[in-house]
């Protein structure tokens, strides 16, 4: 067993609001192994983006308060001083964001934006940084990279811009890439290309990826392991195949059931999960999913279930076994 490159323990993120403290991430713990792709899945407001921004200290504090530990190669990211965390950002851990249309600076050329981390972290001079920027654009599949390096973001399509973001992400050969809804804003064919691209780069460069998404279709295609997040806490964690097959947690089950199935009876409506995610300023005392759970019992709304082992490397936060629930 190798050492995980990232080990998150009891990560808690809360925000001070007028209605009291909003607890957006509640005691999140997970590991990322070298070279693996971990998918963090959840609906809007489940705390998936916030938890990843917190890792790199990218949340403004205050209003945010971040507690817990995130050991990256043994060093706690959350305890790092400003200059320490800056030497990790974009260098050893890179992040790609959701919207490629707004994530690049409109008044700087893509070359300028690519060269910045190269100069900053690798100490390259202007000429070699520029050459590396062109190589990177080439690597992520941008045609005639040498000419396009001096273009501005608005001269690229959405998919091409996301490729630029990826190039920026891998510029300094990071160990870990965090992709936050990186393909959500793209059309399906572009999405597939980007996913392929990241998969290829991952096998070439051996980097680990945290893939944050609400798209279970994408997860099935690329992830090794999946963490299902709800109300800022893990509901279920397993390797991708057992998770999809066993669907131990009622939330996982409901999420997968809400996907459209081709060929199913067409007049059937999608099986949406009734209700809304919990208000983070008023988290229910028991299981966060209990108010929306079709199988909830009285104990569910009183006592929060612990995350427990339910099979080989399969964790689930539910009081019940599937056999009891889905008989």
């Amino acid at each position: 067993m190798t050492e995980p490159i990232l080990s998150v323990r009891d990560l808690t993120v809360s925000f001070g609001t007028r209605l009291g403290r909003a607890r957006v991430v509640n005691g999140l713990s997970y590991d990322v192994e070298p070279g693996e792709t971990l998918a963090i899945v959840g609906e809007s407001g489940s705390g998936k983006s916030v938890s990843s921004l917190a890792l790199l200290q990218l949340l403004p504090t205050p209003p945010a308060r971040v507690e817990g530990e995130a050991r990256f190669h043994g060093d706690d990211l959350l305890a790092m001083e400003d200059d320490e965390i800056r030497s990790v950002r974009g260098n050893r851990i890179a992040m790609i964001f959701q919207d490629p249309m707004t994530s690049l600076n409109p008044v700087r050329t893509v070359g300028y934006q690519l060269i910045e981390p190269l100069k900053m972290h690798m100490g390259l001079d202007a000429a070699s940084a520029r050459n590396r920027a062109i190589d990177l654009l080439d690597l992520v599949g941008i045609p005639s990279a040498a000419e396009r390096v001096d273009d501005y973001p608005h001269q690229f399509s959405g998919g091409m811009r996301q490729r630029v973001m990826i190039a920026m992400g891998i510029a300094c050969n990071p160990d870990l890439l965090i992709a936050d809804e990186a393909t959500t804003a793209l059309d399906v064919t572009t999405q597939a290309q980007i996913l392929d691209e990241i998969g290829r780069l991952q096998s070439e460069l051996g980097l680990s990826v945290i893939w944050i998404t609400h798209d279970l279709g994408v997860v099935a295609g690329i992830a090794d392991r999946v963490v299902v997040l709800y109300g800022g806490a893990i509901m279920e964690e397993a390797a991708v195949d057992p998770l999809y097959e066993e669907r131990r947690h009622p939330y996982t089950r409901a999420l997968l059931a809400s996907l459209p199935v081709p060929g199913a009876d067409r007049p059937n409506r999608l099986r949406a999960i009734p209700g809304l995610p919990p208000d983070p300023t008023r988290m229910p005392p028991g299981c966060p999913f209990a108010p929306r759970c079709a199988h909830a019992q009285e104990s569910c709304s009183q006592q929060a279930p612990e995350l427990r082992e339910a099979g080989e490397a399969h964790l689930v936060a539910c009081h019940f076994d599937p056999e009891e629930l889905y008989a």
């Binding site: 919207d99 008044v107 700087r108 910045e116 900053m120 608005h154 001269q155």
Partner: protein, 314 residues
Amino acid sequence: MTGYVLRRIGQMVLALLGVSIIVFALIHLVPGDPVRTALGTRFDQEVYEALRARAGLDQPIVVQYFTWLGNAVTGDLGVSFRSGVPVTTLLLQRLPATITLAFAALFVALVVAIPLGIVSAIRSGSRLDYAATATSQVAVSVPDFWAGIMYILLFSLVLSWLPPSGYVSFFEDPLEWARHLALPALTVGLISGSIIFRFVRSSVLEALNQDYTRTARAKGLTERQVIWRHVMPNAWIPIVTVVGLQLGFLLSGVIVVEVIFAWPGLGRLALLSVQDRDFTVLQGAVLLIAFMFLLINLVVDIVYGWLDPRVRYD
């Protein structure tokens, strides 16, 4: 970029032509006969007719317009009815004072507004931000004539540091030039500065909250680099617009302040020419002011194209 600039210059010429028609039409539609005003109550009808003919006022209005326009292009804006001095000479006498005051006021405004606006945005919600925002609110609300009088009372009458009014050319005496300039520049500059401050603060704040700023931080740049390389280049774009508008406003004559400080600028000249129905002077002054306004707009647009690559390729 060259095509963009040429196109903008073409637009400016058209706009200027439009302004000239409006100015000419408005002044000729306003009741009141300049020749009669110049001659007083008792006059000879023949002299009156002769003067009208000399000024071309007996011609059809369209002919008058084209004559005036043709002369204006060559720099001849006619002769003042009141004093008989060429309008161009009058305007050129007044222009240095106006330009001096406008740029001095803008200097005061920018020195106050830009650093304070940036710091307020970066530390939004801090005490400094609240204090600066509240002060700017007060400064915008206080009328310029009242502020001007208060400065005169304080700095001239009580403290006797600065002269209360008047204008001295820089080439005559640079020290006195500065001493006379200080109070009017402060009066107008602080008002302009308050307006500019609010724009600086809000556009920096907006850029700070953009996704690309988060990207820049996620790259590992220092906060200083994030602000100067990524936030400010975007924030300048709206700031340039408001600075251009403010400069246009300052150049078009801050009439009230010119009157309070006995500042011999274009605004006061225009005001006097209205009182005297000296419409050749008024036409010339308005045309000159419009020209300066359009020129500033042109400069703003060129700066825009330089700051924002998306504009250049449209």
